[in-house]
Symmetry: D2
Subunit: 366 residues, 4 copies
């Protein structure tokens, strides 16, 4: 069962609410003998941390991670090493501002899960969104670090995973301007410096207007060997799409040419193959590095859409729990474009899926 | 583990290759007491059957389904009823034309899984695509019928699921022309009679040119009550996207506004709520009927893209198993637009996901 | 979910009823490249086949197995080989004697699942026990053959699995007489020729008296390397006990010293270790080859109890479906000691658990 | 995958080592709206807590539990209630005496998992047994409290679960003396006051001699309605046996008559049925309340054996990690009969299995 778990052999189970004591993840199935320190996880967590620019929520969370189990060190291990036992990671919530929740307690915020949680469970922890808060993704990013280490361990450091924002609101990047080195030069993980300038202007305007913007995240895994993935219901495309769609506010995902593939002819779409340096070499990558659910050895390329933040200042029509019509205006510290923080989360989910399939591949194909 | 299984409580496991003795599915977790006959399943299978028009493969398969277990009838049951035991369905392969496979035995067809299966498994059943053949989807359609009956049983006939093609190649339907009644008036499940005419012309041209076209399928489930689905990794969006992406040749999926949501503002995207006839009523459906992974009670709406058939007559550059550069031209009986047959498959996958979540909902929320 | 599935990576799903068209199993997760023929499976099936002596049911079933998928042969494969795709095996039911079922239709047979199936499902396929019939174990034996081949493939033919009967009714074997070579010299898989003689006499008497006897099966796996198994909930003991307890009529299971361990002192029970031929060597095997859920390299030894056949001629008090008190006497072709046929089933389940753990070990520990 | 998880819908995942920062459990699939406080869990934890008598380890652990997620309280909920989100429970380790571990670091303790963990993982956290320590069972007892509340919620308080010790070393209780009220009158959960006296004497002697004793635990669930459980691989017997065998030091399990059933005739073993007060009534309970894997409505009765504590003072032959022959004598604070603390753990595991099946029953059979 997988209400709050993801993965088959390398399996994470997350827990925690936005305004409870903390959140965490239990990682099961991790191979033994992998070096792992809280500091390494912290570096990744800091990339998605709130409060790092005016374009993300101003909530101040140190997001300090603790390793509670599954790692051991003695004078023979050359640093702390995974033992094969479950790795429990915890992040305490610090800045749960004690505020008045009476508004969201009684009113359903449009675009949020308030109404549906009540419909399903009959009650809900409404403080900061409770379980549906994007704070849950901190657990994914932490687990993603472990997944990357597993990948490095199993596949000899072959794989590298990168992610960026390729669209904010209606504004796309220019592919000609694409430069991975640019993504840390702006607060948007934008690989196009020209687009980044425009986005800054547009997002600032949206923020000041009490509005918000959506975004499209692109994730690329390079160096994945051919042969990972499994037909029919554990295809890489299948697991990657569920991984990305499980992220808060994600509403679409595509692999390779994606939706555009529908408009292509068979000749345009099917990537031809030649030999290069003694190895198979594809002349294009419309498949996004996956054929029949199995990796081809090319870059694995996907994109997913994050809807605009639903917490906005502009007053919106809604109803109360009791069924009365009313309006709501969401105040508080919100991301004007939650897609920005989706970038490290998308990369983490890619790492989780690939780590799981790297282990599955060892299991079935030796 | 789910290499060849899908679903959690209502769980299917499929088996079979294109040119083996047959294919089938074992359905586990089906509630007891549901009336089920092979004839009902046959009706659905006939909708995706090969050989029904010149626009689908000319392979002649009766696709006659047998129920091998899990159904019982005596003088007290008013017809055959599910017993709660696993339901095993089998479809024999009849028209596996005994042909010369030497070409695809040695050459990797671009856009197909030939190369990746070899990379993963070291050998492959190349006859007609083996396990990666779209024939596997017959098992899904058969299981989908059982899923629809489960939904009707558990949710009092509230849910209806429909699917259609909304784009073929670059040619989209006009939303103003959308009419569900039209989908059986043309061989494309096209809800727009004007588009259907154009598609016929374009697809005929592609077929004659030895080319192929992609397509976009839309699936809509109406009458789903609010409260189905589950955070965080068993969201309806998550399970629906993996369901659709597991279909052969699918490369993209979106829920509700999908990728377009990225271009909207928060005000445009978050569906406002009013009361109507004493019940919550959303003023729009950008969310595609799902918030926080849980159904809102609105129509659940999704689309997925099917890439153009990779088996085309036009000669394509490729390599042999032995690593020699060569060309291949795929002769044989192929769908010029395999997306057409994806329509009933998409509907079946929607039924499977909703049946599973209807049972999960009973389990957790009573 | 595992209503009708067993195993994690090497996973079987069985289906079928005693008097339906047939029964079968889908094996998922099998490594590719393993030679597999129906003839090899048939040999094992013949060992548990009905009708082979007067001590097992006189039902005449050829139990002819068909491989429907997952195996491929061409001029390069040196015989049929597994492909990594699901292996579907089917056995048709032939001798479902068309008899009058009105008695067991309306009355609950004591010791059988008639009452509980009705209580759970509201209806049941009562013909020959339906899904609760021991015929389901034919699917396990067939799958067990594949599991043994996986073990041989992954662990270089190191493992051998044997099983025998060590007690029939109250009559135990003498450990001093134990000889594996004897088990095929009598119809009981009895390793003690003296006991076998007594059992023949006792079971014949029971059979003629319309009664039945229970039995205890012992299963031993030799050559299992140290390191298979996994704490905490996937211990070898855990998986082996659930494997054996899932067999029809099994009511007890023990590993190594088992229940007797409770009566030992810590000194008597904890197996001491020395070195022998450069490898760890245990001075006893109270642990049954498993410590902390992980194999020690010693023989894995377990026993399970099979209750006496509940289908007996002697009239028994029971009630009808409608709640009226009555009596029932079960006529028909029944095993006077169903434990006999439990011997190959126990061996098959051992193979399934070890194959699964051999693959899990590759996954997590490389 | 279930290395460290147990259950299907009501699913626990435990983590933590004996001498790490703490241990915990994440409970997924819990129905919403159930009242839950840390105090209720604490009561149960205190029953298995170390240091409560001279017959259990003298380690001083407050075992104070914290609820970190999944429970919510506001002015409408009448106390803290489960929300349907994962419930994370944590218990900090306090008394990890900082001692010299060089002995068990290098030597394999007979009867312990030291050798097998090293064989499997290549390294191990040897402090206090690490992951293989019985401290993990604290997490089970905590989760068992939640399971009991789920049972009460779903089955209207019908079920009550009790456990006791029926054998210590070779000394069995007298069934004629059995009185549930006695179990809290002695430090052994012994239902027979005469036996309790003898055990006290015998265990004291063993403790002083640096030895240890095994035990047999009996668990009884009353009030379970007919119909829980599921054929074929999710039988109640199957799940209960794996539940009990996953407990540290458990080596055997039996349901109802168990191993004794093998010695009975069919007439003796199959429980006859009559009507009583308008309901089916069994004249005996050899089946232990389960037929065909499904509950009959009678008491569910099982027993499991716990081997004698392997940590003993008496010097034992063993080897070092480096393969040298040596001896070891385990000093420290150990339970002379760890079976005593297995009593609440067995009861907790029974609750976990029944809660899971109560939810599964709602899912499949409504």
């Amino acid at each position: 069962m997988s209400f709050n778990s993801f993965g088959q052999i390398f399996r994470i189970t997350t827990w925690g609410e936005s305004h409870g004591p903390g959140l965490g993840v239990v990682i099961d199935g991790c191979p033994p003998g992998i070096r792992l320190t809280p500091e390494e996880i912290q570096v990744a967590l800091d990339t998605r941390k709130p409060g790092t620019s005016k374009f993300v929520t101003q909530r101040k969370e140190p997001d300090a991670v603790k390793i509670l189990s599954g790692v051991f060190e003695d004078d023979r291990t050359d640093g702390p090493r995974t033992t094969g036992a479950p790795i429990s990671l915890m992040i305490e919530n610090v800045d749960q501002r004690s505020k008045d929740y009476s508004d969201i307690r009684d009113k359903y915020r449009p675009g949020h899960a308030d109404f549906t949680y009540d419909a399903k469970y009959g009650l809900r922890d409404y403080r900061g969104g409770g379980r549906s808060s994007a704070r849950e993704t901190a657990a994914r990013v932490a687990a993603g670090v472990v997944a990357e280490k597993v990948l490095a361990h199993v596949l000899d450091d072959a794989v590298s995973i990168r992610a960026c924002l390729v669209q904010m609101g209606p504004h796309k990047i220019e592919r000609d301007n694409f430069d991975w080195n640019e993504i840390t030069n702006n607060p948007f993980w934008c690989p196009d410096p020209v687009a980044a300038k425009l986005w800054e202007e547009k997002l600032d305007a949206a923020r000041k207007a009490g509005s918000s913007m959506g975004a499209i995240v692109e994730v690329v895994a390079s160096g994945v060997p051919a042969g990972l993935g499994a037909p029919v219901y554990a295809k890489l495309d299948t697991d990657l799409s569920s991984a990305m769609m499980s992220i808060n506010a994600a509403k679409a995902v595509e692999i390779g040419a994606g939706f555009e593939a529908a408009a292509l002819s068979g000749e345009e779409n099917a990537d031809e193959i030649r030999m290069k340096d003694g190895a198979p070499h594809f002349l294009s990558n419309k498949a996004g590095g996956i054929l029949g659910g199995i990796s081809t050895g090319q870059d694995i390329v996907l994109r997913f859409a994050i809807k605009p933040t639903s917490s906005i200042l502009a007053p919106r029509k809604t109803i109360t729990r009791a069924g009365e019509e009313t309006e709501i205006s969401t105040k508080g510290r919100h991301d004007p474009c939650v897609g920005i923080r989706g970038v490290p989360v998308g990369a983490a989910m890619m790492a989780l899926v690939l780590a799981d399939h790297a282990l599955l591949q060892r299991a079935q194909c030796g």
